[in-house]
Symmetry: C2
């Protein structure tokens, strides 16, 4: 095994604005043997997610940044190649944070087994993984949907948004999506059962939103920010809830947008409508994971919740694929297919 190379993708500089392929570099190192308290994992799938843009930046956030020169962080589904740990055996399929690389050594921290008989293993990075938890925890805990309420979700065809809308439908809500392309809108309505979907590229977004939400908006699940947020704000009802999950329209901002400063309008709306605006990340609700796996597992099995994947082939294509997130070019959960499991 000492001759095997581990190919890894490093962060080589902090991007200013939109990340480019030049912010990353390939690096090959010799694979180390697992220590007595370690196992060796071979990456099968790498998840690409908007939060990674935050890790590339020094801006204060809920997790420390990746150091320049280090391997990019990321969630993966892997196969256990060799294990000195009692809980894991060669051939096991596992999910964890083992980063943008073909192999990883792990002491098992944060690693969970994935049952390949339940669903395709890639779903452990999507509907049955972090994005699914983000949708489930955020909508149910922060959004608190009630039957008959109107729920609007942005990035509606994305990994989180598509799940948010489907859970809201299960909970008896009227669901309006906002997406960036006609085919994404069509998908959320025809395939996922949303009541309507509006493209944020429409010049009359505000008017279309108003028409789609005759009873106003009770929950706005925020994934984007920017002008979508501005169009939503006037339509929020008394006691509306705004789970703030992502702000992809702003992740590449190099400066604040021009005025006027709309913070006073935002605060006044929060006060006069007694709204709740709350940021969250899925790890804040770790104690609810058993409920998630149980409920989401049966929804996926019964096809009450559908999902779609957007797959890039080969680790070397991860940097280019990652850029699609910020251009709205991915359609479904963005994944990199790194390798096939070995035959057993």
């Amino acid at each position: 095994m000492a001759t095997v190379k581990n190919r890894r993708i490093l962060l080589t500089r902090r991007p200013i604005g939109e990340p480019s392929e030049a912010d990353f570099a390939f690096s090959e190192v010799e694979l180390q043997e697992p220590q007595p308290s370690q196992m060796l994992l071979r990456t099968l799938w790498l998840s690409l997610d908007p939060y990674m843009r935050g890790r590339m930046s020094l801006r204060k956030s809920y997790a420390p940044p990746v150091e320049v020169g280090d391997v990019m962080v990321g969630g993966t589904v892997s196969e256990v190649v060799a294990s000195n740990l009692d809980k894991f055996a060669p051939g096991d399929i596992v999910e964890g944070r083992t980063d943008w690389q073909e192999y990883a050594l792990s002491d098992g921290t944060g690693i969970r087994k994935v049952d390949p008989s339940l669903a395709p293993i890639s779903t452990a990075l999507g509907v049955l993984g972090m994005p699914g938890m983000t949708a489930y925890f955020g909508l149910l805990n922060v959004g608190q949907p009630k039957p008959g309420e109107t729920v609007v979700v942005s990035a509606a065809a994305g990994a989180v948004g598509a799940i948010v809308g489907q859970i809201a439908k299960i909970k008896g809500c009227r669901v309006i999506g906002i997406a960036g392309a006609p085919e994404k809108c069509e998908y959320t309505v025809k395939e996922l059962g949303f009541d309507a979907c509006i493209s944020h590229r429409e010049p009359d977004l505000s008017r279309q939103l108003e028409q789609a939400c005759p009873q106003g908006i009770d929950i706005y699940f925020e994934n984007v920010g920017g002008k979508v947020f501005e169009a939503i704000l006037p339509l929020l009802n008394d006691f509306a809830r705004v789970p703030v999950c992502g702000l992809i329209a702003h992740y590449n901002d190099t400066e604040l947008p021009p005025g006027p400063n709309q913070v006073p309008l935002f605060l006044r709306t929060i006060l006069s409508r007694r709204m709740t605006v709350r940021g969250f990340v899925s790890s804040d609700f770790a104690d609810q994971r058993p409920a998630f796996f149980n409920e989401m597992g049966s929804w996926v099995r019964d096809q009450e919740i559908k999902y779609r994947e957007d797959i890039a082939e080969g680790l070397e294509n991860a940097p280019r694929a990652f850029q699609k997130l910020f251009r709205g070019e991915n359609f479904g959960k963005l994944l990199v297919h790194v390798a096939e499991p070995s035959a057993h």
Copy 2:
């Protein structure tokens, strides 16, 4: 009784910017006899509160505006002069919303009796009334203070802010006030027991706040908005709570402030620190009033919570006194002393 005049203060036009005395007019009408389902109330105290600015405007809010030509709305403490209601008898002292006038007819809706033996009756408009409830409900429900946390409250010497800080001290928090004058700051620290208080007129407000909050801010009780809010935002901790109670710096705004637009920064802070920002008004927590009267009553009786009143003499001076709220000129709960109770 048919010869008695009722002097009232009407809204004569909607103010643009800061209210002026010319937005109000005195009007005398002949006092009507109470109907069989009514009682006649004589106003003793009128409360002047920032929310009234909202009622003068057509801007969408949680309560309908006062119509031009109508009597200005307001909370009062009154004496029952005559009553055809079983529950109220002449001489009773009551609190309710009977507006800017010397007399009012009431069918008893929203009227509660005040026990003059418990505390001065004017407190039914302050520490033991709406402002006290606002502080109590907002801090406990939205702020959820825990021992050792840092609480910052703006308008710290005002009717609500002074109570918020004292409850937070009772709950074991470190309390920092923000006020507009050195004597107000001194009052909150020396009289009310705040740990520190900073004038928002200091040029280095941000630096002083940072020094006063070495552990960051866990709860910011928002009464003002504007540049105080901007100075607070960078200091808020993970999982911080921001009860939005008032925005007095903005009530007279005629346009939004110049850019840049800081909404993206605000949203990013909410997300990355998983903050909760929630607007509320005291009536949202009507079911908790018994707990309020019980607990706040004993705090006031035991002088664990102190209060201060700023009293204008005579109903005719209400419009001029009202302006003090927006100039930061009141020092304590602003009241108009309209009449003395009759001797019994």
